[in-house]
């Protein structure tokens, strides 16, 4: 540094003046530009062209835009479909109502049927059908063959009634067909009682009264079989209280065709219970009614 040079302290520093940003943009100005509230001549330097550009971008289009017809066609289609929807949804509503009515009807009929069954006021055909169903179910069950004394349950399901029926005292509803009289009807037959009595001494005790009629009619106990055979075909001979149709040989009252030899051999006491088994039981006439089953039972035993 020479003598002519000034001291640094003598240098007069100019104040620092940074170059202002010519494109400075505050938030308010930006909003006014974007909203279109700032005309080009009102815009600050540097943004007049931007204001003109944005105004041009947002200007209404002088040309009619194409595609309106296609949009209207779609609008028509959607409107038609929308109006068709309520009609389509009405069907399930009607179905629901019909289903509800059917459910109410079924419920009412079921309730009425149960009430009628509980009070015992069911019509005779319904009672008859129910007995047939129960008798069929019992007939197809395998257990009775292993339980010789078991009787098919009557419609009341009362065990006492079963015993009474086996004694020929089972009460029968009015109008009940005799063919569906059930197993008790077979024991009502004094001929069968007497046949059973041939194989079991104890049968004589219970069925003595009932077997007296054929014995008396035959004049000799040994002639009971022939007397019964003579009296069975027309069904007019019985215990004097009930008129039975021709037996099916099983004593089930099913009304079906009996097996060719059903009830003949058991009636001979071949497959009957041992003299000391089941004696005194109200079901001891059962071996005669279920001859084939008893045969298999006794064979297996």
């Amino acid at each position: 540094m020479g003598a002519d040079d000034a001291w640094s302290a003598e240098i007069k520093w100019l104040p620092f003046t940074p170059d202002p940003d010519p494109l400075a943009l505050d938030e308010d100005l930006a909003e006014r530009l974007l909203d279109g509230g700032l005309r080009p001549d009102q815009a600050p330097a540097g943004y007049a062209a931007v204001a003109a550009l944005l105004a041009a971008a947002a200007a209404p289009s002088p040309a009619e835009p194409a595609g309106q017809e296609a949009a209207l066609a779609e609008l028509r289609a959607v409107t038609r479909a929308r109006r068709a929807i309520p009609r389509a949804t009405g069907r399930p509503g009607r179905r629901r109502r019909v289903g509800l009515l059917v459910a109410v009807a079924v419920l009412g009929l079921s309730t009425t049927g149960i009430a009628a069954a509980a009070t015992g006021t069911l019509p005779a055909p319904i009672t008859d059908t129910a007995r047939r169903i129960f008798a069929t179910a019992d007939d197809t069950a395998p257990m009775p063959s292993t339980r010789p004394g078991r009787q098919p349950a009557p419609s009341t399901g009362d065990g006492a009634a079963v015993g009474a029926a086996s004694q020929g005292q089972r009460p029968r509803p009015a109008g009940e067909p005799e063919a569906t009289a059930g197993p008790g009807a077979s024991n009502d037959d004094p001929c069968r009682a007497s046949k059973t009595g041939k194989g079991a001494d104890k049968n004589k005790k219970l069925n003595a009264g009932a077997s007296q009629a054929p014995v008396e009619a035959a004049g000799d106990p040994d002639n009971v079989t022939s007397e019964c055979q003579n009296s069975r075909p027309d069904g007019t001979e019985g215990d004097g209280q009930e008129k039975h149709p021709p037996s099916n040989g099983q004593g089930r009252g099913q009304g079906g065709e009996p097996p060719p030899d059903a009830g003949s051999k058991p009636g001979q006491g071949q497959a009957g219970p041992p003299p000391n088994s089941g004696g005194g039981s109200p079901e001891k006439g059962r071996p005669i009614e279920t001859g084939p089953r008893r045969t298999s039972f006794s064979t297996s035993r």
């Binding site: 041009a56 971008a57 959607v78």
Partner: protein, 189 residues
């Protein structure tokens, strides 16, 4: 803008009134086309049609004022554009040889055109040169007429982010236009 009659127009359009629907369509179709020309150039017409189909099917369930309806329509439009982008990504379009195309425009041509005739097309073309986020935010604010919050919701961004995007976009437009004005001024001299 439709104005105070918008609720009645919307109700009538929802029930299938073609005149009322025409009012909505004339108000929004130009805006939709401009929006698509910026964010999906080349498919604006198709995307606008798809948008209107969706609007027609859903207008019966829409509830809100005119601003909300406009935001709803542009939300549908953006979804349509995004679907188109996804399809394009799955099925890349084969590039055509450049020899068969017209000579590309000079870089400063869009701005020069805007300054000369201020046409809408040139303005949109210049906006389309911005980064995608900035261009979309500016178009939604200027063309669609949506507020900051509506744009933020539509673009799934925060309002401050939208403000920054629009601010940067405006500044960049100013830079582009100023840079273009300089040579023109010098040529005029």
């Amino acid at each position: 803008m439709i104005g105070p009659t918008f609720p009645a127009v919307l109700t009538a359009a929802a029930t299938g009134d073609e005149d009322a629907f025409g009012v909505l369509w004339h108000d929004l179709q130009p805006r939709l086309l401009r929006y698509f020309k910026v964010i999906a150039p080349g498919a604006a017409e198709d995307l606008a049609s798809e948008t209107w189909l969706a609007v027609i099917r859903g207008v019966g369930r829409f509830q809100g004022d005119e601003a909300a309806f406009r935001a709803w329509v542009f939300t549908i439009a953006r979804h349509k554009a995004r679907d188109r982008w996804r399809q394009a990504a799955r099925k890349p379009v084969q590039e055509l040889p450049e020899t068969g195309l017209a000579e590309p425009l000079a870089p400063d041509d869009p701005a020069a055109t805007v300054l000369e005739d201020a046409s809408t097309r040139a303005a949109l073309a210049l906006i389309a040169t911005l980064p995608a986020g900035q261009a979309e935010a500016i178009v939604l604010r200027v063309v669609a007429g949506l507020e900051v919050n509506q744009v933020a919701e539509l673009m799934d961004k925060r309002p401050n982010t939208v403000r920054v995007l629009t601010h940067r976009g405006l500044r960049r437009l100013a830079e582009r236009l100023g840079a273009d004005q300089g040579p023109r001024a010098r040529r005029a001299v």
